[in-house]
């Protein structure tokens, strides 16, 4: 388990009688974008705070490059809290330099990084403006810049896409990718599953404080049943019944959605379909992250009940 990057091992956090997080473990490697998915109150923010050290867990540990994380490493984590917060009456340039210095950057390095990021976010000429004078979108950019201006060792972003317009979503995704490519672990949480699906290397699904799924999108997909869309317009109804291990799940016009169990062979199905006449469509139905999410939630709830 002692790998590079972040390691979270068996974290449990209780607030009185409420167990916010229970025995949670996952790793995020350098260069990896890890998406944290779960409903409100599932424990995402608590987990992030434990990683940052602003909360102390009741059990478990947080590792960095295989050994317990130190204050010096934590200082250099770029963090964007779910509830955004900066000084509204402080000039953004000064504010970012100040925050960079608090994170351990020297004054010249901080000033250079702030100039670079303000340029990148097209806020260069606003450096002397108070934060409160900026538009909501620009304030969000400053908030992101605050997590970047000290060359962070890791990024931890709580709901970074919340409240962003599509353009801002794209530029945020771009920044996350760049940062990961520069070789640091990137963790973020989100409700927007299609974004997570698009930009994450790996996804963790958290429910009621427990990690119920953790893997690449492909790995998560492979857990579910194999499904096929087949469009054979000339096929008689019930043509699949004769094929072993295959079940018709849904019919849409001439298209059918088939679910295959382990014994079934998709090539057999294709031959059977071609035998009925032309085949216009034959493709694997990949479940969306939403499907996986729902599936995982139901499975885990069922497991809890039984």
């Amino acid at each position: 388990m002692a790998g590079r990057g972040l390691g979270v091992q068996g974290i449990t956090k209780r607030y009185g009688a409420l167990e916010a997080v229970r025995d949670l473990s996952f790793d995020v490697r350098p260069g990896e974008v890890f998406g944290f998915v779960g409903s409100n109150g599932a424990g995402k923010t608590t987990t992030m705070r434990v990683v940052l050290g602003t909360l102390t867990s009741d059990a478990g540990r947080v590792l960095w490059d295989g050994s317990p994380i130190t204050f010096e490493v934590r200082r250099r984590i770029g963090y964007m809290p779910e509830e955004r917060g900066l000084y509204p009456k402080m000039r953004i340039g000064e504010q970012l330099v100040y925050l960079a210095q608090l994170h351990g950057a020297t004054q010249p390095a901080a000033a250079a990084a702030v100039a670079r990021w303000l340029e990148r976010f097209q806020l260069k000429d606003r450096a002397r403006d108070e934060l409160q004078k900026l538009s909501h979108g620009n304030q969000q950019r400053v908030q992101l810049a605050a997590a970047l201006v000290f060359e962070p060792l890791m990024l931890v972003l709580d709901e970074p896409f919340a409240g962003l317009d599509p353009e801002a979503v794209d530029s945020m995704s771009e920044v996350l990718h760049e940062q990961a490519q520069s070789g640091i672990p990137v963790i973020f949480s989100s409700h927007q599953l299609e974004i997570v699906e698009r930009i994450c290397d790996r996804v963790g699904i958290i429910q009621k404080g427990r990690l119920i799924a953790n893997g690449t999108i492909d790995e998560l997909r492979s857990h579910g049943p194999r499904q096929l869309w087949v469009d054979a317009p000339s096929a008689p109804p019930g043509w699949v019944a004769s094929i072993g291990g295959v079940r018709e799940v849904r019919v849409e016009g001439s298209r059918v959605l088939l679910e295959l169990d382990a014994s079934a062979d998709d090539q057999t199905i294709l031959r059977a379909a071609l035998a009925t006449g032309p085949v216009r469509e034959f493709r694997a139905n990949l479940p969306s992250l939403l499907d996986i999410f729902r599936e995982a939630m139901t499975e885990s709830t069922a497991a809890a009940v039984s």
């Binding site: 607030y15 009185g16 940052l52 050290g53 602003t54 909360l55 204050f71 934590r74 200082r75 250099r76 984590i77 963090y79 809290p81 509830e83 955004r84 917060g85 900066l86 000084y87 509204p88 009456k89 402080m90 100040y98 925050l99 210095q101 608090l102 994170h103 351990g104 605050a146």
Partner: protein
Amino acid sequence: MSRLGGDGLHTVFLIARREFITRVRSRVYLVATVVLMVLLAGFIVLQAEVLNKTTTTVTVGFVGASQALAKPLAATSAGGVTIETQLVQSMSSGEDQVRSGDLDALVSGDPSGPKVEYKDQLDSTLASNLTTLVQDVVFRQALTASGVDPATIEAKVAAAGIHPVALDPNAAQQSQRQVVGIFVAALLYIALAGYGSFVATGIVQEKANRIVEILLSTVRPRQLLFGKVVGIGLVGFIQLVLVGAVGLVTVMQTRAITVPAVGVTAVLGGLLWFVLGFVFYALIYAAAGSMVSRQEDVAAVTAPIGILIIASYFVFFWVEANPSNPIGIALSLLPPFAPVLMSARMATGDAQAWQVGLSILLMLAAIGGVNALAARIYSNSVLRVGSRVRLAEAWRGRA
């Protein structure tokens, strides 16, 4: 502080510098400082005026032979009374001037028994000085009549005198010192309560902004707390230095205080006790502020602290009136009251050296205790948003 060595101190410095710069740059601070300086200088000038106003001027007119008394009478101007004399042409015009108030008295007739006319009240100093002069005139006439040269007698009389020995030379300064003491007490109470509540408000703002979450992901709660206290304290300290300097300069210029050392002691003592008192109270204000999340709730948690400071100010009036009362002395030694009471007692000159030393030692000990307490409450509460954190929870650190 041991946990803040090296780089930790640099962080405290960064935080303190931000607090200092943003506050000193604000227009409110500039205006408040100037207003305070102007008010203090104005008060001192006014005070000096009142002191000078006790010298009244009496104008006396002389008609006819009585004019011989004019010069000697003017020479008797002394103490708080200046006597001005002028010659008047006629009785009637002199009497008109007395009625109109241009003259306080009109003297006429023979110098050995002149008539003195006045409107409704004869100035007592004038009456007694004039009487002495007239008696002197009669005395000289009698001496000359009996063949003695008045000059030899006068020389002997002039050489005679009393030998004054002051048994309590400081008593004269006492009233000045009391005024200075009240000033020091008032300034300290305003500065401690004011800057203390800035600490509480600043902390609640950071909680309300939610920036505290970002800050505490990179600095320790103690660093944030100390940086804030140092930064805001420095702002208050500089304001007091400026106001104190203006006060001292005005006092010297107007001679509102006759002994400059009194003013210097008051200013230095006041600054020392501001530093001690501020650290003590700011830590308490910080702990209280960290327990609430909204600006509206700050007043409720900080009110008891403010009351403690204001109470020491009002207690000072009683302490000052009873300088040797042991209860007053004891109160001035105890940390919550010492900043206001001891600094003011030092200004009035009532505090003895051992009392000053003991009160400083007690204060330092109290700061040590409050520091441990406040840092713990602050660390446990500052990230908790929502309803007010109860004291027991803040202490234990668990919900």
